[in-house]
Amino acid sequence: MKVEVINRRTALRRLLYIAGGTLLLPACYRQSGKETIALTHLVIDEEQENLLAELVETIIPASDTPGGKELLLHLFVLKMVDDCHNPEDQEAFITGLSSFASLAREQEGQDFIKMDANKRIAFLESLKEIENEEVKRFYGITKRRTIQGFTNSKYVMTDLKKYELVPGRYNGYFKMT
């Protein structure tokens, strides 16, 4: 029964991808029923989305302030890759995401989402040395977009580094302390 459902889902996704339409996976098709985001070009399953959520949480972890997962930065990454990147980037992102998952298993003998925080960080550090271009490109895009999403998030811009719309100041001789 479960297998059938997955096939139906996969088939539906492929159909939508080919049609170039918006892929909005209704909650009833998702095992967890969690909310997600409408995508036009990317095809992401729930497992991949969860992996991405853990990855952005590792890049920007929750501390006394919220982390990547709570700020939905994984959805922001997907949104930006889907709308603002060229098809080559999008393909590299999807392929790289799969390679990232398998590399974690091969190298660490464990799924990335099952690793503890220190092990995850160590794995990400190890990516600086690797040759796998797909993984590099995927991780590069994800990290850049995660940082952008974080610094431009409502939370950061209102609670941590206030963005002043008005009144604006200007002092060309501001004395540094």
């Binding site: 890049i59 603002c84 940082i147 580094k161 963005y163 100041r169 200007y170 060309g172």
Partner: protein, 572 residues
């Protein structure tokens, strides 16, 4: 039926028609309506009502779907618009999309357009400098184009007139190369911009760095409050449309002002096809309009017509205004209409670093953008192997140093700190005069038309050898000045921009003394059809180095004054 027609003609008859509602068209509307003339303003785009139609104006960065980035699909669909520095997610609705309004590029030319009430006055960079005596004398002295039929003293009072209403922030710098105006307080330079000003003053005779002069209300006067505008709030989100009216746009200023007189009829969605010539009277009698939405054709009539459609569209409309008397376009007996198009050469940039004055940084935002270096080349005499000169911007700033190599807590801290700052980074770009040449021209296609039945425009405009010599000089002189100031890591860069991307296209319907070699007289009237005036960029005989909008506005106010006096005297 006959009566109906007469009534219909009556309702379509005005004292004055203004084609276009951008910076110069808005000024024509204000001046005509204030002087009591029933005025029809035809705008080809939609209406944009001040504040109400600025959908993004109060959005925070996180409220923009793509954090102000343009999507890949948009970039693919609109390569021309996307090459404009101001085309972003928060402003894109004020720009023409490439496919909607095609034109034919004989050579690469970025034609950046804003089709709506207010035109590009919503989007402009707001830099406003007067021309000097030297600029108006240029063509005569250096033997290019034709002599300007006016001199600085002809436009000086009109600059003042316009400046007081618009509101220009600037300092009285006392330079004859860049005359002072009726200014509001200028925006001060920051520590390193000011340091560079002093260094240049000390080491280079005749060269100056001043606060950039801009159309912002640094200290609003009663005339600005009456317009409903208040002090600039330093948001520097200008191109979204400013809810404070902190910078000048037709939408915030001249158009509502004209509306208050009760004499304005503003008709958006009105694509002007041509100007109608009346052989009997030897004057233009009105304009033919195609409704943007219904495609219905209609005619409007007036005693005087101002063409302010933006430089190249003004060329297009006049070239398309064909009659038995003027088979090549209205007033175009000499065949020069559409020729001698010029622009500004913006292709050169220079940047460097400075390790001094590290006890200071800039806090907040400067609406003027920083400093301005008025042209100092070939002013008193010809001194280089190219004609005329260049002006330049100058800016300096610092930014927090963020090491984003790590991940986790460490990265999070890096992204939020405010404690470690870079040294000063300084930058400049060139604004070079270009010499109008006959081969830089536009013309109408003989077969292809747009959706409104208007012929497509061919644009054949390019840089010339002179422009590269000028650029070389900019690199050399700026390098010298940077070195003298102790700046390091100096880098020059050709930014590869196409003609048109400066958004200062000018000419094609140039002013001059002689009907044989020019299209407009010293009052901006067509030599051969006196009740048609052209006061936008199309009228420009040469380009100088200044941002041109202030000059268009001053010429417009001057020309309306002339037109109204002429109407009263029965001269039109």
């Amino acid at each position: 039926m006959a009566n109906l027609n007469i009534d219909s003609i009556k309702t379509r008859t005005f004292d004055a028609i203004v084609i276009g509602s951008g910076a110069s068209g808005g000024w024509a509307a204000k001046e005509f309506t204030e002087k009591g003339l029933k005025t029809l303003v035809l705008e080809r785009g939609r209406d944009v009502v001040h504040v109400k139609d600025y959908p993004t104006t109060n959005l925070y960065p996180y409220e923009l779907e793509h954090r102000n980035e343009i999507t890949y699909a948009d970039k693919q669909a609109n390569p021309i618009a996307n090459r404009c520095y101001a085309y972003r997610e928060d402003t894109r609705h004020f720009f023409v999309k490439d496919e909607e309004h095609p034109y034919i590029q004989e050579k690469d030319f970025d034609w950046i357009r804003g089709y709506q009430v207010g035109g590009k006055s919503l989007l402009w960079a707001r830099q406003t400098q007067r021309w000097s005596a030297y600029d108006f004398e240029g063509p005569a002295r250096d033997g290019f184009a034709v002599d300007w039929p006016i001199r600085y003293q002809d436009i000086d009072p009109w600059y003042s007139y316009v400046e007081r209403f618009v509101g220009i922030a600037g300092n009285k710098d006392g330079l004859y190369t860049l005359p002072d105006g009726d200014f509001l307080p200028g925006y001060p330079l920051n520590a390193v911009e000011d340091y560079f000003r002093q260094s240049v003053h000390k080491n280079f005779k005749g060269r100056h760095v001043i606060s950039a002069r801009c159309a912002h209300l640094s200290e609003p006067q009663p005339i600005h409050i009456q317009q409903g505008r208040v002090k600039c709030q330093h948001r520097v989100l200008c191109q979204r449309g400013c809810p404070f009216g902190g910078y000048f746009s037709s939408n915030a200023s001249t158009i509502p002002w004209a509306q208050k007189t009760g004499n304005l009829t503003l008709r958006p969605h009105s694509v002007v096809h041509s100007i109608l010539y009346d052989q009997e009277s030897g004057k233009a009698k009105g304009v033919k309009v195609v409704d943007d939405e219904s495609l219905e054709e209609m005619e409007f009539f007036a005693d005087v017509i101002f063409v302010n459609a933006s430089a190249l569209n003004t060329n297009l409309i006049l070239l398309n205004s064909k009659s038995d008397r003027f088979p090549e376009g209205l007033g175009n007996d000499n065949g020069l209409m559409g020729k001698y198009i010029a622009f500004h050469n913006y292709t050169a940039r220079i940047s460097a670093e400075y390790d001094g004055l590290l006890e200071y940084r800039t806090d907040g935002r400067n609406p003027a953008g920083g400093g301005y270096i008025p042209n100092f080349r070939n002013v008193d005499r010809q001194e280089t192997d190219f004609l005329r000169g260049w002006a330049a911007t100058f800016g300096a700033g610092r930014s927090p140093i963020r090491d984003t190599n790590g991940v986790g807590e460490e990265l999070k801290k890096e992204l939020l700190h405010d404690s470690e700052w870079s040294n000063w980074r300084v930058h400049s770009h060139m604004m070079g005069e270009t010499i109008p040449k006959e081969e830089n021209r536009v013309w109408l296609d003989t077969g292809k038309t747009d959706k409104w039945g208007v012929p497509l425009l061919h644009i054949d405009v390019d840089y010339a050898e002179d422009d590269w010599k000028r650029r070389k000089d900019y690199y050399e002189q700026m390098t010298n000045m940077f070195e003298a100031a102790g700046f390091t890591n100096i880098r020059t860069r050709d930014d590869g921009r196409r003609p048109g991307n400066d958004i200062h296209e000018m000419g094609g319907v140039r002013m001059g003394h002689d009907p044989k070699t020019s299209l407009l007289n010293k009052w901006n009237q067509l030599h051969l059809c006196k009740n048609v005036y052209v006061t936008d960029g199309a009228c420009m005989t040469s380009t100088a180095t200044q941002n041109p909008t202030l000059t268009y506005m001053a010429l417009t106010a001057r020309a309306v004054d002339h037109a109204v006096k002429s109407l009263k005297n029965g001269d039109l």
